[in-house]
């Protein structure tokens, strides 16, 4: 199962390296969202500084939607879904591989977006331990739930509109948790942030288990 996961993750990441869709389209989109927030919320009155953690995670969440759409668009083309089913790969392995590939892409995006926030919003960054741990857990949560719902919407004519409807309400706890954890870290009181990391860990575990068990049936078309 893990071998299959690494094979799939390697394939997805190699595909990203060759096509650079996430790098050339999703990342600029995320940075654009940051700039748009600055337009919408007056940067001189301190609103932007207060809202920084929330805006950051909103930008990550919307970019993640695009990355997930992309992750399933490559499998939707030209009979790849059939080929995957015929491949003999463990569905649980396919799920974990996709989660891994999306997570890696999101983490790269988060780092670059973090630099963007630090520069554009002049955020003073501290509380590194909590920032890193909560980012990793939140990313795993988004990728696991997103991959499960991604395959749920895959192959349907309404997939582009269905995925946000299904995914965003479910990810509400992750958005709340990651934002609060970042606020706590930036405010220099990390102890308030750790319970959120715990909650997000439960969320991530739930969705990893659901994906490992549910991916096989979901991959079937009839």
């Amino acid at each position: 199962m893990l071998q299959d996961a690494l094979l799939i993750a390697g394939k997805d990441l190699r595909l990203e390296l060759r096509s650079r869709v996430a790098l050339n389209q999703v990342l600029p989109f995320a940075l654009l969202v940051l700039v748009l927030f600055a337009f919408a919320l007056d940067p001189d009155r301190g609103v932007l500084a207060q809202a920084t953690p929330g805006l950051y995670w909103i930008a990550v969440l919307f970019s993640a939607l695009l990355a997930l759409q992309r992750s399933f668009a490559i499998e939707a083309a030209d009979g790849n879904r059939d080929a995957l089913r015929l491949s003999g790969l463990d569905p649980a392995g396919i799920f974990l591989g996709k989660v891994l590939a999306v997570s890696v892409q999101l983490i790269v995006l988060e780092v670059l977006l973090g630099i963007g926030v630090a520069v554009l919003y002049t955020t003073h960054i501290e509380g590194w331990g909590l920032l890193v741990v909560s980012s990793v857990i939140a990313t795993a949560s988004i990728a696991a739930a997103g991959t499960l719902f991604g395959v749920l919407a895959a192959g349907l004519r309404v997939r582009e509109t269905l995925l946000p409807l299904l995914l965003l309400p479910v990810l509400a706890p992750v958005l709340i948790g990651s934002t609060r954890a970042f606020e706590a870290a930036l405010a220099g009181s990390p102890s308030e942030g750790w319970p959120w990391v715990g909650l997000m860990s439960i969320f991530a575990s739930l969705y990893v288990v659901a994906g490992v068990l549910g991916f096989g049936p979901l991959l079937e078309e009839s």
Partner: protein
């Protein structure tokens, strides 16, 4: 599509049966009793005044909305585990009813909030998580009603149904923490008071009975309706196979 008029046959021409008719009458009677006790006989609350009467319908509706969600999750689990079509229909029927109840809970909660809090909406933990629950249920229904193959949509919807209750728990927990970390839950202090008693308690009890009967009646009818939908879906398959074979034999 085979259209058979059954006006002359022995079967009923609706989803009603003798049992549900009795149940329906009981539900109507108990709703009338609820109106009597809730609106006329019970006294106004010392703190909330007349507004407390909203709670006689609001609280039971919330309870049965949650019961509906629980049934959806259980039904989805049984469908995925045992391949039980019966449980799949239970999950679908109760999800739709739970959606109606959740919407009612949300609207009555907002109406209760206006005189109590002065605004229709506050970011109260219960109100917010109910709104999220409504969105989750709408997602389930959207998938269950997809214009796709029957097996595809039931299986995909069942995965969502299975995750419904865990999701609700996590969402509630997160919203609860989110609110309590920032402000003390003073608003909830005027909620259902601890000292409701006598006729007020009885009115609430009647509310549970009445809403529970309505819920059960709706569940049975919606289940039969879903079962009919499946039958209509499957009808014509035999005809289609025969036509297809004739096409082959003729060539």
């Amino acid at each position: 599509m085979t259209t058979q008029l059954s006006n002359t046959s022995s079967g009923p021409d609706s989803t009603a049966s003798r049992g549900t008719r009795i149940l329906g009458v009981l539900a109507l009677v108990s709703m009338a009793a609820l109106a009597l006790f809730g609106l006329v006989l019970s006294p106004p609350d010392a703190n909330q005044g007349e507004v407390v009467r909203i709670l006689y319908v609001h609280v039971p509706s919330a309870t049965f909305a949650y019961i509906g969600c629980l049934l959806t999750t259980v039904g989805s689990a049984m469908y995925l585990w045992r391949r039980s079509q019966w449980w799949e229909l239970v999950a679908y029927a109760s999800a739709e009813i739970a959606t109606v109840f959740t919407a009612i809970v949300l609207v009555t909660g907002m109406i209760w909030g206006r005189p109590t809090w002065g605004v229709y909406w506050v970011w109260d933990a219960r109100l917010t998580s109910t709104a999220m629950l409504l969105l989750l249920l709408l997602g389930y229904l959207a998938v269950r009603r997809l214009p796709a193959d029957h097996g595809v949509r039931t299986r995909r919807a069942a995965i969502l149904g299975l995750l419904l209750v865990p999701n609700v728990i996590i969402v509630r927990q997160s919203v609860q923490w989110w609110r309590t970390l920032h402000q003390k839950p003073t608003l909830l202090a005027n909620g259902v008071g601890a000292e409701i008693e006598g006729l007020m308690l009885f009115a609430l009890f009647v509310g549970f009975i009445a809403i529970g009967l309505v819920f059960t009646w709706l569940l049975i009818h919606r289940f039969r309706l879903a079962w009919l939908e499946d039958q209509v879906d499957e009808a014509g398959l035999d005809v289609a196979i025969a036509e297809r074979r004739a096409e082959g034999a003729a060539s």
